[in-house]
């Protein structure tokens, strides 16, 4: 069995041993309920407020504007559903993009079913939104906009600051899903001018099952999970104390090394992209070169299918992911790849490689060699490639 090269850090990351160590006492020693008045409970409460303060500082938010959730998905659901509901007397129109994460996209689709109206902004072939399109979509009844800061599949970084300023000018609230962006690119809520922002700990070496939603003071966004008085009565449920502690610890670690992580990942990413584009035929990079997450590369290899690509790469020790239908458990390829204009058969042959700070140049080189071998092998098996070599029309073109 070859050594494993983990290039799926956009899916999840390994937890930092230091963050695990910081969490452990909160399972067995300081296990009290933060709502309890005795010291055991108050110790836990102190740990939460300390974590909240550190996290808030990293994104230049007010401490009281950080609300802990069970995931980035919950934060997205909360931001969208509760805000649209709270402001429904103003209007029922939401603006979002065609390349949101499923958490956002499916929440917006649910709102559509409840009678809200949603405008789905298109992106260009490189996966970027046009702020002018955004401004043109704003109507008198537009309540809020939600735009993903950095895309989870193709890594493109949107002009959030510019769009948030447009939104503010028109009195429209602005939410961004920063789950992939946080700790990889600068995230400063004051500078960006956003009203809400979602994040998830396990994308930056924290624990799974914990995230947060930033809600700017003064917003009417109501509680989404009803129950006790936790999180300033806005998000009920006994706090995930170890998770919150681990999230703050992991974020501290990442933010202390922000510059070196960013530089290292960018160097490896650029090397990976350059080698694949020059050494493999019939391949395209999905998502523009810049601005792009430093740890994301996404390719489409013509004539091969993504799940086969992933499974054969795994046999060579490389762990990655794909926007192919088969790999996702549905029959449709990724909506993000379709939104950037890829035909279905090309979208099926996509591969996402997401690096980490411990990825090495040798691992990238090994991965490129593995990709080259696997693509040749799968093309030898592909009737589409055979037709291409014989100069026949692509099968899909015949069918459509």
């Amino acid at each position: 069995m070859p050594r494993q090269i983990y290039l799926d850090n956009a899916a999840t990351t390994a937890m930092l041993p230091g963050a695990v160590a910081d969490m452990l006492p909160f399972f067995t020693q300081h296990y009290g309920n933060p709502s309890s008045l005795y010291t055991l409970g108050q110790d836990a409460k102190t740990a939460i407020s300390d974590s909240r303060a550190r996290i808030a500082k990293h994104i230049r938010a007010q401490e009281s504007d950080i609300y802990f959730t069970g995931s980035g998905t919950e934060a997205d659901n909360w931001a969208l559903k509760a805000t649209m509901e709270a402001y429904s007397s103003k209007g029922r129109h939401l603006i979002t993009s065609s390349i949101e994460h499923h958490a956002l996209m499916h929440s917006a689709e649910w709102l559509e079913k409840q009678g809200f109206e949603v405008t789905w902004l298109p992106v260009d072939n490189n996966g970027f939104l046009n702020p002018a399109d955004f401004e043109a979509a704003i109507r008198p009844d537009t309540v809020m906009a939600s735009i993903i800061m950095a895309n989870n599949e193709i890594g493109t970084i949107q002009p959030i600051k510019e769009m948030a300023a447009i939104a503010r000018r028109h009195g429209v609230l602005f939410h961004t899903d920063a789950v992939q962006a946080l700790t990889h690119i600068p995230v400063d809520v004051e500078d960006l001018g956003v009203d809400m922002l979602s994040a998830s700990a396990h994308k930056f070496h924290g624990p799974k099952g914990v995230g947060f939603l930033y809600i700017r003071k003064g917003l009417k966004t109501k509680n989404f999970i009803h129950g006790g008085a936790q999180e300033r009565k806005r998000r009920a449920g006994t706090e995930n104390v170890p998770g919150i502690v681990g999230m703050a610890s992991a974020m501290d670690w990442c933010m202390e090394r922000f510059d070196e992580r960013n530089a290292h990942e960018t160097e490896l990413r650029d090397h990976l992209i350059k080698r694949v584009l020059t050494e493999v035929e019939h391949v395209r990079l999905n998502g523009g070169h810049e601005p792009r997450l430093p740890n994301n590369a996404n390719f489409s290899f013509e004539f091969v299918e993504g799940e086969s690509l992933l499974l054969t790469l795994e046999q060579k020790g490389v762990l990655a992911s794909s926007g192919s239908a088969c790999a996702s458990g549905s029959l449709d390829p990724s909506h993000v790849l379709l939104a950037i204009g890829l035909p279905h058969e090309i979208a099926h042959g996509s591969l996402r490689l997401s690096l980490g700070e411990d990825t090495t140049m040798a691992e990238i080189d090994h991965t490129v060699e593995a990709i080259k071998e696997v693509v040749v092998m799968l093309r030898r098996m592909s009737p589409l490639y055979e037709d291409f070599l014989q100069g026949k029309k692509p099968i899909s073109a015949v069918k459509q």
């Binding site: 192919s324 099926h348 030898r380 009737p383």
Partner: protein, 147 residues
């Protein structure tokens, strides 16, 4: 995706992968849009026995494994026997497929039928029980709706 060991074994070492020059029959089914295309080539002798069979597949591990297994099941058989190899038989021989991948085994059955149809047309014969295959099994929309 939880695949059986047999599926992974056939995916990793596919049997009968390749082409046959001047085949007695060749059939291609599927749709690149849906992510699966299978092509089956037959070399059938004068007695109607499948002497050789090859396949090429664009698709997931289940698509490759069902192509491999289906070609194994029809190799050396008569045309009539090959017609009786159903998608259920292919699935069973692979120790089952995840529910969402069962359509891949239908594709394998369809590819065999398409190649037999081509053979029958070329030789101007009628194979009893063989219907003209649909060019694209995904025309059958109910399959997709289920998931």
């Amino acid at each position: 995706m939880a695949y059986s060991e047999k599926v992974m074994e056939h995916f990793t070492n596919p049997r009968n992968m390749g082409e046959i020059e001047n085949p007695s029959g060749v059939g291609t089914v599927g749709n690149a849009q849906c992510g699966d295309i299978m092509r089956v080539y037959f070399d059938i002798d004068e007695a109607g026995i499948i002497q050789d069979v090859k396949f090429k597949t664009f698709g997931c591990a289940a698509a490759v494994a069902t192509s491999s297994m289906a070609t194994e099941l029809v190799k050396g058989k008569s045309v009539q026997e090959a017609l009786e190899v159903t998608n259920t038989a292919v699935c069973e021989a692979l120790d089952g497929l995840p529910p969402i991948k069962v359509h891949c085994s239908l594709l394998a059955e369809e590819a065999i039928h398409a190649a037999l149809w081509d053979y029958a047309e070329k030789n101007n014969i009628v194979i009893e029980g063989l219907k003209k295959p649909k060019s694209d099994i995904h025309e059958d929309d109910e399959l997709e709706e289920e998931y």
